[in-house]
Symmetry: C2
Subunit: 351 residues, 2 copies
């Protein structure tokens, strides 16, 4: 017999009790299933999940936070990569954590400065974060990784060039992506191709170069010229000058990121070269500069927001598992890249 409901505001929201009733179990069992805990019989789990789906149940995060011992607080240490990258990254981080009730703590940090890095990590530790997400370039900082590992804090790196067995990461396959782009240039008919490398402190730089070289192996008649860059616009200017000063100019230049590709376009225009008629220019990342520019850049799209979101998701999964006494193996999440063809590329002009 149903008691008269209290006079309180009626919320017509599905709760854990509704799910429990439908599944014929206790609310605690529903809680176990929803939180992916072990020691739930498979048939029970399925019954609960069925009820969850049927009722479209979404756990109340406020209640979970209040009832559970600790709060999920995720730290993000960011340095000054391309601002375009950071804003896309933050959008992804936000979108994912907002819905999961995780608190975010952002800490700025000068990159390539071990002292500053250690201080940033310490600040996160002092703030009792449960996990940390590292966007590039800090995702490859030994200092940061070691300090976090020493403190036993779950960490996920984003956009590292390679997977390493002691750090979960979310990345694209940089090598395959660079290979795809190079093959695209070869298919257009280019045979003299300049390549601008990324910063040597990031493994993605080497991977992209490897991919570039791998594609060229299938075109023995092609000539490659490789110069160093550092992912910045100014370094791209300098690299472009070097490549375009060659006696026989390349007909295409592949820059390891969009900022440097934008610099190549800038230098080309200064020299009176039409892009793409006289020079094809392609980039990597698909950050906002690639469409701000004229001509818009052909580039490799890294789904930055989705990667950030995936990193948060992975981190939450790992911290939850850790709380449950399991120590999850570091995971290597590879997300698909896409080649985005825009106006900065075309077949070379017939000689």
């Amino acid at each position: 017999m149903q008691m008269n409901r209290s006079t309180r505001r009626t919320r017509n929201v599905i709760t854990i009790n509704d799910v429990a009733r439908l599944a014929g179990v206790s609310p605690m069992t529903v809680s176990r299933v929803v939180n992916d805990e072990k020691n739930v019989r498979e048939s029970t789990r399925e019954a609960v999940l069925l009820a969850v789906r049927e009722l479209n149940y979404v756990p109340n995060l406020a209640a979970r936070n209040l009832a559970s011992a600790e709060h999920v607080r995720i730290g993000v240490i960011y340095s000054n990569p391309s601002a375009a990258y950071l804003s896309e990254f933050l959008v992804g981080v936000l979108d994912e954590s907002a819905g999961k009730g995780a608190e975010l703590l952002l800490v700025k940090c000068e990159a390539s400065n071990p002292d500053a890095e250690r201080i940033s990590v310490q600040r996160l530790i002092d703030s009792a974060v449960t996990g940390v997400v590292l966007p590039p370039p800090l995702s490859e900082s030994d200092t940061v990784r070691e300090a976090l590992q020493a403190a036993g804090i779950a960490t996920v790196g984003v956009a590292t060039g390679r997977f390493r067995s002691d750090l979960s990461c979310v990345r694209v396959d940089d090598r395959a992506a660079a290979e795809d782009m190079t093959r695209y240039l070869l298919d257009l008919g280019h045979r003299r191709i300049g390549f601008i490398k990324g910063h040597p402190n990031q493994t993605a730089s080497a991977e992209r170069l490897t991919g570039f070289r791998a594609a060229l192996r299938h075109a023995p008649d092609a000539k490659a010229e490789v110069v160093q860059g550092y992912f910045t616009f100014p370094s791209g200017l300098e690299a472009a000058e070097r490549l375009l000063d060659a006696e026989v100019r390349p007909t295409a230049i592949f820059a390891s990121n969009d900022d440097m590709a934008a610099a190549v376009v800038s230098v080309a225009h200064r020299r009176g070269l039409d892009v793409p008629r006289d020079l094809t220019v392609v980039g990597f990342d698909d950050t906002s500069i690639s469409t701000t520019l004229w001509p818009a850049l052909t580039t490799v799209r890294q789904p930055v927001s989705a990667m950030a979101a995936a990193a948060i998701d992975l981190l939450l999964r790992e911290t939850r598992a850790a709380k449950d006494g399991r120590t999850p193996e570091p995971t290597d999440v590879i997300v698909p890249h896409t080649l985005v063809e825009r106006q900065s590329s075309s077949p070379p002009r017939p000689a």
Copy 2:
């Protein structure tokens, strides 16, 4: 006599009950004071606030969210302003809302497209946001403002050039800031000054121009050349070419934002001009590009993160007041700007 505490995890955290006990009132009274409700005697309020401060009480947001009828969800509609601006803005929004338990909902929107703007607003309304923060340039969109007002959603605009009586805003005094910068150039000794205007769809553009002109009125011997820009790097390139093509070149160029100032530096270098020896270049905003560049830009610092944080704070205050039945007057929050002197400015070369 103290009962044996439950076997449950002991949290040694200050709660509303601790404050109530110390202040000699009921928890509900503490709740009223903390939430800034009316109908609390002034002496009671003071006693409670004293206890809050003494114990360093911070309300548990999860408990508040669970107990109170509705959730605070703040929408942010962003378009594609400078990426550097957006990332700073998001950092501020995040820092402020994380600590206040507000959920954030980001919606991207193509600017200057009324249909897209209406769709974005509708998405926020459908998601039951309690308030909306508008970064530029959407903070000045009539479409967006009207749609939100029609839906009765509290809104705060950021970095609008002027205050209007129907919209709370957080901004710097653009006119005064531009006047300061211009006076700085005059004090350095410049008498031929180029000015690149911002996009005409933002009131800040006009304010900055007004400030520039106001400062020049005190230097009757100075000559000004004003050209149109649109806040983008390419528009800055074009404007710089126009200014530097003049028979008598300006010795200083004041661009209405950093992106355009960076473009001016780029054009100057292309023409073999040394910055600042041959040409002083100054910007506005102090976004990350101003220090990435060489020489680093002298510019006006807008504390973007702090402004975003202030906007969130103001919004929370307004929605809370509205819940309490009060209709707060739109507020005009002006935050201080600062002139940041770096390497791109110097006295003009003696003729």
